[in-house]
């Protein structure tokens, strides 16, 4: 068994081959864009007397990029450390597949979103977009967390990034819809792709690892680091690639209010669905973020703080209810084992966000937006645009995304099912010791078992002071 999960050759081989391919493709296809190229930036400058270095897009996008970057690596990474024996893998594999995905995404997105004389131009905006695509892969990672080898995860990333770029191209370039914060392209796509993958990889005997599929006190605190960073920086995420000026400013603020309202809903329903009225860390860690997902499409529109708060409140509510009532059903009836509950955090709130986006777009009018209309809805100028058709295209986009995600997840799932990747056996899921040097592994086990044996033995003899255990 130890043989089958040995990564000594598989992981290095895959990593090195992938990185060599990436380096070769970057060498042949990637160039600095106008804002990063020493010659182009300074040539252009001489053409225009008023242009100066302060106008480089770096100063208007880079702070947003850094916030997004924190969400990808700290936010997603630590959010998944809630498992008691899977912290190294959560933050470590998150790190690995994100570092790969952002490189691969640069190529795929560059290829689909417009080559310049056969070359891909890169700068801070392409860095944000690559991080966005990476986010989608990390959402899917949440569904299969604890049940996959790092090799499987890298293979999943190869396919998911590619399909993400295709879907994004269809939505943004062909259908021309709005989705700045990615309710559809990132969250809906990532969630349903991941759910389909975990469905195909269904493990009937996962119960054998059940005792490790839960948190301990400190692992929940580590996960809260991830939660809080995602929550704080979500306004930056949704606004990172909107147009400059009022759209970016408005998106950040709408997201801020949506998340605040979502948090109150989360605490309310978490206590309400518990027989003793106790709050559940799973809800707080996840559902409180659904408000950010649900304004990912409409955030840049004139949704108002009022509208944002309603959307956020709804998102928090359905997310908690999903964790409580839907997740168990998905596993028992549909055989979908969704470790992190991404259906509740990204799936349903993503669909809600797409619907809210379609409705808000359909209600848009020059009365409300004035001259700002064309700066939110891109094809206004061409005259092809009217609010109702725009709303329709937004709705079609949701359907396309769901189709792409489910189909892509299906194919990818079957590819990942091949018995060549060193996947963990059912008895050793959710366990760092399989892929990591964990020095204290044995000590932990001994201590736990000792304590168990002693507790039993001493209880019998009445030695054990049971005040503490009876207290509550």
């Amino acid at each position: 068994m130890a043989e089958s999960t040995n990564m000594r050759l598989r992981l290095p081989l895959l990593c090195i081959i992938l990185e060599v391919i990436l380096i070769i493709l970057f060498g042949t296809l990637v160039e600095y864009n106008d804002d990063t190229h020493a010659k182009l930036w300074n040539e252009n400058r001489t053409d225009s007397a008023t242009r100066n270095d302060h106008e480089n897009e770096f100063y208007y996008r880079y702070p947003s990029f850094q916030d997004v970057h924190v969400m990808i690596f700290v936010g997603f990474g630590f959010l998944m450390t809630f498992l008691q024996r899977y912290g190294f893998s959560s933050v470590g594999f998150n790190f690995l597949i994100a570092a790969f995905s952002l490189q691969w995404a640069t190529l795929m997105q560059g290829f689909f979103h417009g080559l310049h004389h056969g070359k891909i131009h890169v700068g801070v905006t392409s860095m944000i977009n690559a991080d966005f695509c990476t986010g989608s892969v990390l959402i899917s990672f949440g569904a299969v967390l604890g049940k996959t080898s790092p090799v499987q995860l890298l293979v999943m990333a190869i396919f998911e990034v590619t399909l993400f770029a295709v879907n994004e191209f269809i939505l943004l370039s062909i259908l021309g819809v709005n989705d700045a914060g990615g309710s559809m392209t990132i969250h809906t796509f990532g969630a349903y792709f991941g759910l389909m993958v975990t469905r195909v990889l269904y493990r009937p005997n996962l119960d054998k690892s059940k005792h490790r599929n839960s948190s301990v006190y400190h692992s929940d605190l580590f996960a809260m680091i991830g939660t809080i960073y995602l929550w704080m920086f979500w306004p930056s995420f949704n606004s990172a690639i909107t147009n400059y000026g009022d759209p970016q400013h408005r998106t950040a603020m709408n997201t801020y209010y949506s998340l605040a309202a979502c948090t109150l809903a989360t605490f309310a329903f978490s206590a309400l669905v518990n027989p003793e009225g106790k709050l559940d860390m799973v809800h707080i860690q996840n559902a409180a973020l659904a408000g950010g997902v649900a304004v990912g499409t409409a955030g840049e529109m004139m949704l108002t703080a009022f509208g944002s708060m309603i959307v956020g409140f709804l998102a928090g509510t359905i997310s908690v209810l999903g964790y409580k009532y839907l997740t168990p059903v998905l596993e028992s009836k549909l055989k979908i084992q969704d470790t992190c509950g991404i259906h509740n955090l990204h799936g349903m709130p993503g669909v809600l966000g797409a619907v809210v986006g379609a409705v808000t777009a359909a209600l848009a009018s020059p009365d409300v937006y004035g001259h700002g209309l064309q700066r939110v809805f891109a094809d206004v100028e061409t005259g092809k645009w009217n609010p109702q058709s725009r709303g329709g295209f937004q709705a079609i986009s949701l359907a396309v995304t769901l189709g792409m995600a489910l189909f892509g997840g299906l194919i990818t799932g079957f590819i990942l099912k091949l018995p060549i990747y060193g996947a963990p056996p059912d008895t050793h899921c959710f366990e760092d010791g399989l892929y990591w040097e964990v020095k204290t592994f044995q000590a932990h086990y001994i201590q736990r078992n000792t304590t168990k044996a002693l507790t039993a033995s001493f209880s019998e003899r009445g030695w054990l002071d049971t005040e503490g255990t009876k207290a509550l």
Copy 2:
């Protein structure tokens, strides 16, 4: 007893009612401001040929906002995780009351600081101000930490935010004083409000929970995450809403030097007041931050790095001495049970900051400030201003703040004393298990008691290798 702390109805009911009220008030009262409104921002633009999207206040305030946001949610949240069994509540209730307070503060501050045709205008500056007001509530939370239910905390927030807005209005709009970093409005107000609340809620039998009112090794490390984030981003906090240009730049730098000097004072006095010369994590976690509090008023003035370092050094010194000598007296003589020692971190340094601000304002002169004078001291242009009267108004503001805080805390304390909120019993303060699902709660207790019983039993028999315990 379990009945009395059950949150199943109380917490959801309060959260939902509050959020519904907030949503209705936002729907009727709140509008986008000029920089976030699609129509207004783009209309204004056509009036002025030179104006462009890069001038939107978003690009000059949002990075500061995000730093402040991190302080509110990660800084305050994790700083309070030092308690061994109260990490979920520290970071979780911090999250809940902050998410509520920032919405409520938007309304209260908007109401007092100027309606526009009956409407409250929101943008990144109002978001920063709402976060500031929230900070004040979180300071008070530190005094009652571990002894209050989430329902009590929300009720406290309702009253404190309201009074904060009134006090802020008196200081900034009526008296017209300076307090950009909130030495008075945020720290002094939050500290003395919280101290008065905890005084009214005095628990003579809190000793019953004494064993939980302390840290363990890893909880102190989690708390250091909070400390370091507060420390690093304090320059952004103090400078977030100053005028653009030199005042903002100067404030950040003065705060940076004040904190650096404060840190050396903290380490020095922490070792000095310990009989064995050992450093105390409580001091490092808290007193090292006092330097940021103490330049909250004078930071935007021409305090110089030299002046800032003196103030920071003093702040660190009085804060450590307060933790060592004053906190025990406050509890034994004045019956003030101050869990986090907010009197040492926010109370005394806040008063020091107010005094430093008054003196620095009284010494301000056109010789030093040149044309920059009116950009720091707002009513210079009207001719009403002279340095001495300005210093006097600053001092009066401190008195007003103390009065408002103590009176408000008194009233709020008595309201919170009503036996309807599910407050924890004296025997179960500082305990997450009361309001949270803590799966491993029982295991912890068993393990601790087992270890205790065994240690005693084995020591008697001489089985226990005591090398470790004697070593130091």
Copy 3:
């Protein structure tokens, strides 16, 4: 023995004396620069009609500064918390020496980099430079981690900051070379200085503390907080003080790609060098960062994403191989006890970065850079410049840096060897309890020893359920 490590007088005395000296020197030597001075900023403005507050350097440097600040205090601080019983000291002493070093560096760098009429001018750029210099001291701290008292560390910082400023002056002002991200000035200097100090402080009996010189499960997760923050913000670090516009933008992007490629190399080689193909947290925590170090010099040049990825891949590879094969040899043959393995993270990748910088500079041409050439290579305008000589000067700078670091470390090491600083005995290295109040220290020891004794005793009797220990 307890006597000899008592910090009650030594630490306060040193901290207070140092801070008083700093305050006096700041009072006599330091002034606000043009962008932070109320008078100067607003005077200058009247000279130029187009200048406005938004052009204050604060808005273009401060976000970078904050990212660097996070790396210094959270990044370095938490990276070193991997030791099981040294978390307080790692993050606490990091905090202390950084707070001291940034003040002292402001004076030293200000003195060498140009006085203005006998005064040192400070603003956000000097704050970034001071943080950079501090980073160098923290690198050296990594080599002696666990084996030095806080007094020793402060004394080391006094000397290291001074020599850093001299070396930086030689490189940047006399030789006029490029080193924006500090491959030479920060990483190579800090690494070889620290290695020489730890060589002089060699402890032949360090084995006595061997059982504490390792990580436990949660301490490795705390360390990952440090790693991820360093990784995410390294693009800001390398670009923080480049020229505005394309150089800053390009540097951030080159670093981003270098780090991504480095991460894949790190995972690949970490699995490859382990007999069971298991990943080692030490490698992931450290080697994945080497890509940032290695583009510290060439990052601002036209290295391209392609070049950056090659450099990053190489850096990750040599860093992992260094941890695996070189570190044990350095200790056994050269008597260099390098706690954090700074030779692998900062030493070799720093030298690699210097070489890459020299080569890239030697290949620079107007064809590639256009009018941007003089904005990257400062003395182009004077006509003295040609690519080959520039490459030569870059190489000479590496030699100068190595010489300064080794010589400075030698002298400083002998000064730190004096038996007056309260250094820990060989038996109590890597132990917080020596300098910190650790309330649970005794409990930990008892529990560990109890468990040990019981495990042995119960195993004999066959009581112990050994399923867990055999499982893997």
